[in-house]
């Protein structure tokens, strides 16, 4: 193993462990390696839940509410992963489109579920347009989609501010003074959604032992899950998977790679717009200029916590991720108080964990990619050697 001379000691030990472990041990090692993040979060939650002192019903209520409002947004990330475009940081663009639609619906005084449906319909053309732009740019920067998507947030965020702060109520008609800035144009820093607050959550809601189950939200989520399962089996879904595995092979097989990638980003952006509307109707108001800014980060962190990676994610990862990530969010401040006497420690903890888990996932992805490349090289060398010996 001459290649081991140049590898770090830790990695060499891990490899030797891997080589000499029993099949069961090897499987466990593989499992730990593949699901390191969820396992870590399960341990954190297992430690923090008893320390937080929250009752089971309170904790369940919080987790179910957060599942209802966040899962749709996170599901919107699955399709770009399927088509090999990684974690779609550009989902924020859809969130902005959703917010613009909500501003109009608030101004037109369309309340309740009709307001939510109308906002979703209004968000579609804007989301699709932004998704198209994002997809086209990503095709120009293949292999760098994530950083491009991340920077697009800032670029389109600036455009969003220009539209909402200067064009609305000056060029774009906004009737109600309650959402206009006092100077006469631009939108106030907070838009009140009181008249549609939790309208989806309350419709068909079931109360069981003090736990509110937002049935309609879960029906909507189930429909999206079914759509994703169905979509994977369609011709377009199969094309996306082929593109995700190898773009060159897909191109050679006659798939229009660029078009397929653009469609996947458009679908993701449109769903992100819907997801943001569902999310904000639950909250009941939104800070006009910042509500979208961290949403992508949170959704991506939750997905990664559920055991997804940059190249592979499933519906199961979404559900597990939301449960673990948000359980940690709920219990961390109280657990922080119990351990250190300071709630801020818990706050900082959950913040660094959120960003840390994304960093870790990106590093692990890169390591895996390099390992696969080097293994591929080794196999090729071995095959050449064997071929040479045989001849």
């Amino acid at each position: 193993m001459s290649s081991n001379k140049n590898t770090p000691l830790g990695q060499r030990n891990l490899e030797s462990m891997h080589n000499y472990a029993t099949p069961l041990g090897r499987r466990i090692l593989e499992l730990v390696r593949n699901y390191a993040v969820p396992i870590m979060f399960i341990i954190i939650c297992a430690v923090c839940i008893p320390l937080s002192g929250f009752s089971t019903s309170y904790l369940l209520n919080e987790i179910i509410t957060r599942m209802g409002r966040n899962i749709f947004l996170i599901l919107s990330l699955l399709i770009p992963i399927m088509s090999g475009m990684g974690l779609n940081f550009g989902m924020t663009l859809g969130a902005m489109a959703g917010q613009i639609a909500l501003i109009f619906v608030t101004d037109w005084q369309i309340w309740g579920i009709p307001g939510v449906v109308l906002a979703m319909i209004l968000s579609v053309p804007l989301s699709a347009l932004l998704g198209l732009m994002c997809g086209k740019l990503m095709n120009m920067a293949k292999g760098r989609e994530m950083i491009l998507g991340y920077m697009m947030n800032y670029f389109v965020g600036g455009l969003y501010q220009l539209v909402v702060l200067y064009f609305m109520a000056s060029i774009i008609p906004i009737k109600h003074a309650s959402i206009r800035l006092p100077r006469g144009f631009g939108i106030r820093t907070t838009v009140n959604l009181t008249n549609m607050r939790q309208c989806l959550d309350n419709e068909l809601a079931i109360f069981y032992n003090g736990v509110k189950i937002p049935v309609l939200n879960f029906i909507i989520i189930a429909v999206l899950c079914l759509f994703i399962v169905w979509f994977r089996r369609t011709k377009l879904g199969q094309d996306m998977r082929a593109v995700g595995q190898d773009m060159d092979v897909a191109q050679a097989a006659g798939i229009n790679v660029d078009r397929t990638r653009i469609i996947s980003i458009i679908i993701s952006t449109v769903f992100a717009g819907f997801g943001q509307i569902i999310y904000l109707q639950n909250i009941g108001n939104f800070p006009t200029y910042t509500a979208h800014s961290q949403i992508g980060m949170f959704c991506i962190a939750a997905l990664l916590v559920g055991g997804a990676s940059v190249e592979k994610a499933s519906i199961g990862n979404v559900f597990l991720g939301v449960i673990l990530f948000h359980t940690m969010f709920i219990v961390a401040p109280k657990a922080g108080v119990a351990i250190t006497g300071d709630a801020m420690i818990g706050e900082y903890f959950r913040v660094f964990v959120s960003y840390g888990v994304i960093t870790m996932a990106l590093i692990m992805y890169e390591i895996k990619k390099r390992r696969a490349r080097s293994q591929g090289g080794e196999l090729l060398a071995l095959a050449q050697k064997e071929g040479g010996a045989a001849s």
Binding site: R188, A291, V351
Partner: protein, 170 residues
């Protein structure tokens, strides 16, 4: 794109537009104010306020109005329904009236004068638009004030604040 595909797409678009239009009609929200006030000198007549009116909207008692009092309810859509329990004079037995009204689409706040409405007067006598009093001058709210780098509020990495409204600390 073939003709069939175009027809399907145009039909889908028309359906979506129809749904949006329906939502705009059935989801239009109104705030309704009920006045139990005497209407003085309408075409030479006076319509006196009731002793007491109890207003029920969607099985919920929203107002108990004495003379010169105002109640309020919210309603989604244009076909407004309410049940009134009216006591005309002190000591009278209350009578119950079920009322259905078509609300004007373009009004957010609608004032209904109950004595005038129940007297069967024309719409101009009992319906008027509620116009909120002008708000006191506020300090100019400018979300762009900062150091120009857009870093304020982000330096601490306060995700809860950034998410805006989601009580992440709960």
């Amino acid at each position: 794109m073939n003709k069939k595909g175009l027809v399907i797409r145009l039909t889908a678009l028309a359906v979506v537009i129809a749904i949006a239009a329906t939502m705009m009609v059935i989801g239009r929200g109104h705030t309704i104010y009920f006045d139990n006030k005497t209407v003085e000198n309408y075409q030479g007549n006076e319509y006196k306020a009731f002793e007491r009116v109890v207003v029920t909207v969607k099985d919920e008692e929203v107002a108990k109005l004495g003379k010169r009092e105002r109640g309020m309810a919210t309603w989604i859509g244009q076909n407004f329904k309410m049940i009134l329990e009216i006591t005309e004079k002190k000591g009278d037995e209350p009578r119950i009236e079920e009322i259905e009204l078509t609300l004007p689409y373009n009004m957010d706040g609608i004032i209904i004068n109950l004595p005038a409405y129940l007297a069967g007067l024309p719409e101009e006598a009992w319906l008027s638009e509620f116009i909120p009093a002008p708000e006191p001058e506020e300090d100019e709210e400018d979300p762009t004030i900062g150091d120009g780098l857009g870093l304020e509020g982000d330096l601490t990495g306060d995700l809860g604040g950034d998410l805006g409204g989601e009580d992440l600390g709960a």
